[in-house]
Amino acid sequence: MFELENAKATQGLRRIAIDPVSRVEGHGKVTLLLDEQNKIHQVRLHIVEFRGFEVFIKGRPFWEVPVTVQRLCGICPVSHSLAACKAMDIIVGAKQLTPTAEKLRRLMHYGQILQSHAVHFYHLASPDLLLGFDSEVAQRNIVGVAAQHPEIAKQGILLRKYGQEVIHLVSGKRIHGTGAIPGGVNKALTAAERDELQKNLPQLIEWMQGGIQVMQRFYESNTAFHNSFGLFDSNMMGMVREDGALDLYHGYLCAKDAQGKPIFNRLNYENYTQVLREEVKPWSYMKFPYIAELGPEKGWYKVGPLARVQTCDFIPSPLAEAARKTLLAIGNGQPVHSTLSYHWARLIEALHALELIQSLLEDPDLLGKELVLSGQRQEEGVGVIEAPRGVLIHHYKVNEDDQVSMCNLIVSTTHNNQAMNSAIRSVAMQHLDRRVISEGLLNHIECAIRAYDPCLSCATHALGKMPLLVELIDAEGQRLSSLARNSNGECRADFSLG
C-alpha cells in the first residue's frame, strides 16, 4: 500500500476532481480527498476509458495486426505498428530483416519519436513552462505560447511536421501508414524522397538544440523548485544495445534502481515475463507493472525519456550525448529523478532522433530494393520497441490457421502508472496540502502527469480482470439494475431495484 493511495477513512472528507486531465492523450482524472483544514488524505490518477484490443484481436489473421493495433493511438501509431511487426517477424521466420528494411523501419521510428516529442513539448508542455504553471488559464495553451513566443511555437510546429513527413514518405501516410509488414517493409524510398527529407535538416537540428537551451534556462531559473517538483525515487527501465548505447528500435531490456545500480541487465526481451508482473487495482482501468523479484511495493519503475537516458551508458550521437551529460550533471553523480527533467530528456531524445535521421539519409542501404524476408514459420513472437513514452511490449501467439490466439500488450504509459501516481502525491503534499486550492495549484498536479507525456488511451486494456460496473438507468435517472465485476473477475448482479 502506498502513502496517499487510500485514505484511512473517507467519511467527512471533501473530494476534488480534476476531470479530465488536460493536454494529455486520452482521458483520465485525478481525485483528491481533503479534510476541513485542506489536509490531503488521498490522491489517485484514475484512467476512465478502456479498450479491448487484446481480446478482439484474437481470431484475426496475424498479418492484419500491425495495421489494426495502430488504432490504439493517434499519437504513436508507428510504435504500435513496429512493435507488432517485430513480433510478427518472428512468426514469419524473419527475425533478421534486410538492411534496407530495418533502416527504413528505423527511419520511420525516429520520425515518430521526433513528431511525438515535439508535439508534447511544444504543444502540450511549453504553455506551463514558458507561461507559468498558474498563468491565466485561457492563455495557457499553444496559441498563447505562439502569441508570446512566436518563433518557439513556429519551430515546434515545423519540427513536428518534419517528423510526420518522414513517417509519410516511409509508410505512405502520416497517421496509420502501412509501410511496415511482417518480415520487412512494403515500400522503398526513392532518391527524390530522400533528398526532400535532407532539406532543412541542419536548421531543424539547430532549432532542437535551441529547445534544449530553453529547457535548461527554465531549470536554471529556479533550480530548487525544479529539483523538488514531483520528486520521488524509483527504479528505471529502458532498452539498450549490446554495447550499452541507447537504442530506440531494438536491443536488450535493462533496469536500474534509484541509485543507478543494475537490477537486471541485457535481458533478451522475449523473456520479459520472467522479470515483469502486472497488478490490478479496483480504482483504475490501468494496470500496475512491477519487477517480479522486488514485488509490487518496491518493484515499480519508470520508463520513457528520463529513464532511458539513464539506463543507457551513452547516446550514440554526438550532440545528444553532449546534451545528456549536461542533464546528468545536475544529479551530482546520482541519477536524476525530478519529474520535470522528463521534458529535458525528451528534447535530448528528439535531437538524437534528428541526428539518426540525418545519418540514415546518408546511408546507401536506405534506397535498396530488398524489402521482405521470410523463413520458418513460428507460433509465438514478442516485439519490443522504445516508443516515445517508453518500453512497448507486444506479445502474440498465432495458430496453424494464421489466426491470433493470444495477445498481450504492455504499453509504455502503463509502466509509468505507479510513477505518475507517486508524482502527483508528491506534488500534492508539496504544493496543495493545507492550502487554499486554486486552479493554478491544481494545474501543478496536471503538470506532474504531463511530464510523463502519458497516452492514456493506449494504456488501458482489458484482459478479463478489469473492474467494471454496468448500470441500467431509466428515463427518470433511476437505477433499475446493475452488474459489477471486481478485479478478480467475479461478477455480482443487483436487480433489487428492477
Binding site: G74, N141, I142, V143, A147, P150, A153, I157, R160, I175
Partner: protein, 162 residues
C-alpha cells in the same frame, strides 16, 4: 513563392468526405496544364490543425475547401473571418479558428479568406463518392476554375453565395 493558399481537408476513405481532397487534386492537375500551378500553395489534410496557420504567412488570398453535411447544394462559397473565440484545443479546427490562430501568432490580420463547401450525403467508411456528391464535385470544379483564373478578393466576394 506562391501567394495564394488552397487548403482542402477530408478523409478519402469516408465516402463524400473526400470531396475536398478530390476537388483540390483536380484543380492542381488542371492548373498545371494551364500553367497556373505556380501561383498556388496546395495543402491537403485530414483535418485542420494549428500548424495550418503557418501556411497563411505571406499569402494574399486563401481558399478552404471541405465537404459539408446539410449544407447548400451543390456547394456554397463565402468569405470567412477569424473567430473571436478561437477553438484550438481539440482534434480538428474550423478554418475561422485557423485564421484566428494566425492573427494571434503573427500579430496581424490574415489575408482575405473564403470557404468552398461542397454538399455531401454519405460519410461512412467506403471509398468513392455518392452519385449526388459526384454531381456536386463537377459543379464545384467548374466554379473553382473561375476563381483560380481570377484570384482577387473583390472578384471572389462578388461570387459569394447569397
Amino acid at each position: 513563392m506562391a501567394d495564394i493558399l488552397l487548403t482542402a481537408w477530408g478523409n478519402t476513405s469516408r465516402g463524400d468526405d473526400a470531396l475536398g481532397p478530390l476537388l483540390l487534386r483536380h484543380l492542381q492537375a488542371w492548373a498545371r496544364t494551364v500553367h497556373l500551378a505556380q501561383h498556388f500553395e496546395w495543402v491537403e489534410d485530414f483535418q485542420l490543425q494549428i500548424e495550418h496557420a503557418l501556411n497563411l504567412e505571406g499569402k494574399t488570398l486563401a481558399l478552404y475547401v471541405d465537404a459539408g453535411q446539410n449544407t447548400p447544394a451543390p456547394f456554397s462559397f463565402a468569405p470567412i473571418f477569424p473567430l473571436k473565440q478561437a477553438w484550438h484545443t481539440t482534434h480538428a479546427m474550423p478554418p475561422e479558428s485557423v485564421l484566428a490562430v494566425f492573427e494571434r501568432m503573427a500579430h496581424k490580420p490574415p489575408c482575405p479568406a473564403f470557404t468552398l463547401c461542397l454538399k455531401g450525403e454519405t460519410f461512412g467508411i467506403k471509398e468513392g463518392l455518392s452519385a449526388t456528391a459526384q454531381n456536386h464535385l463537377e459543379a464545384a470544379q467548374a466554379f473553382a476554375k473561375t476563381l483560380l483564373q481570377n484570384p482577387n478578393p473583390t472578384a471572389w466576394n462578388a461570387l459569394a453565395s447569397p
